[in-house]
Amino acid sequence: MEELKQELKAKIVEQLNLEDVAVEDIANDDMLFGDGLGLDSIDALELIVMLDRDYGIKLTDPKQGRAIFESVDTMAAYISEHKTK
């Protein structure tokens, strides 16, 4: 699980072009949206595509995304349980 969390942090930094953020700067329980990393709705779309492309998870309900993308912890937990590749 810890390996997956590190992998997710690296993907978030790289794919969302977080120029001034290092992987080490993101805590497992940091809020990804709002006051935490400050991600926005375009980033949410990027994360949804990443889940589909890299882990074979299709999110159809936007409300579901709110809980899944709360933090690296919640993302890792959901991916571990639902990944198909």
Partner: protein
């Protein structure tokens, strides 16, 4: 003809340290390469990190050059934004198209698509400046910037606007460079900048940049020059370039010019377009600039920057002198540009 049109603010982001308006080509980078990149200002000083993270270089150059041009003109906002670009936001276009190919037309993400259009730069500048006025982007090869000038000039002459931000912007991107190498539009061998005109080889040294200007129909303390006239041609025979230049000057009741800025780039196939002017205006101070900036579709916007600086400072840096004529006082500057024999333009700048 209505109001006169003045250049009241300028900023050039180029392969030289030109974004500091207090200097005029004092420090020169003499590159030995086939592709040269623009020198980056500290973008973080001008663009919030949250916005900047999705911006490719062309957008950043456009925003910073716009803000500095406005500052130079001592304005907070303008009535319209008009840009010219040859290839637009080609870095994000490449990213998006690569993603389509790599992922078999699936899993496409929005960011690079949103940022890949030609009018992204003008749109992002409008967002940064909160300018809700006319916003237009011209894409017309090496006449892209001049088309923007013409649009702004017509609006200002007819008092449809008072201050218009115009700019020429193009960025380099890896695949674009690869393709242009393949088709021979980029030189095969590196050339040192100051010898590029004698390279005797095909193709050009490619570059990138963002050159922005505030055009106004009111003269100000910051004014650099008057844009008296601009004329565009899609096609022009080599043999008629000089006669068209003379015709252009006659149309504008000008019987002599003090300086001639040429867009020659060292391409042995196409620099002959400039020969008629070089011979016909041999007693005029001739200048060139693409050895400093590289070639790109909107490189001629740098000629406007150069002409504006020359007219305001009444000085010419040695590095841009093409002949030995030494003119002490300059009142009128003619700019001529073309790329690969197409999209020719004449511009007449006057001292104000």
């Amino acid at each position: 003809m209505g109001s006169k049109v003045y250049i009241n603010g300028i900023c050039a982001i180029s392969a030289q340290k030109t974004f500091d308006n207090t200097t005029f080509l004092e420090e020169i980078e003499l590159y030995n390469d086939t592709v040269i990149n623009a020198i980056d200002p500290n973008y973080k000083e001008f663009i919030p990190p949250a916005s900047a993270r999705r911006m490719a270089k062309g957008i950043k150059m456009g925003i910073v050059a716009s803000k500095l041009a406005l500052k130079d003109a001592t304005l907070d906002n303008i009535d319209a934004i008009i840009t010219g670009t040859g290839l637009g936001c080609v870095r994000d276009s490449e990213k998006f198209v690569s993603a389509i190919i790599d992922h078999d037309e699936q899993f496409l993400t929005p960011t690079s698509f949103i940022q890949s259009t030609h009018n992204t730069v003008a749109g992002q500048i409008a967002l940064e400046l909160q300018c809700k006025g006319y916003n237009f982007t011209y894409v017309h090869g090496s006449n892209s910037f001049e088309s923007a000038v013409l649009d702004a000039k017509l609006q200002l002459e007819h008092d449809e606007a008072r201050h218009i931000l115009i700019g020429g912007v193009d960025e380099l991107a890896p695949h674009t460079i690869k393709i242009h190498r393949l088709i021979g539009h980029i030189k095969a061998e590196s050339v040192t900048a100051n010898t590029v005109l004698n390279s005797n080889s095909k193709g050009a040294v490619f570059g990138e940049g963002g050159n922005f200007f505030v055009l106004s129909n009111e003269q100000a303390a910051s004014s650099y020059a008057e844009v008296q006239a601009v004329k565009l041609f899609n096609t022009l025979n080599k043999s008629s370039v000089y006669t068209q230049a003379i015709e252009f000057l006659k149309e504008n009741k000008i019987d002599h010019i003090d300086a001639l800025i040429l867009g020659c780039n060292g391409d042995v196939e196409y620099d002959s377009y400039y020969e008629g002017l070089r011979d016909g205006f041999s007693n005029v101070q001739q200048l060139y600039y693409k050895q400093l900036t590289g070639e790109f579709y909107t490189a001629s916007s740098f000629a406007y920057w150069l002409g504006a600086k020359v007219l305001k400072t009444q000085s010419i840096p040695n590095v841009v002198k093409l002949n030995s004529v030494d003119k002490k006082s300059m009142d009128s500057v003619l700019i001529y540009n073309q790329y690969r024999g197409e999209n020719h333009s004449f511009t007449l700048l006057r001292k104000c």
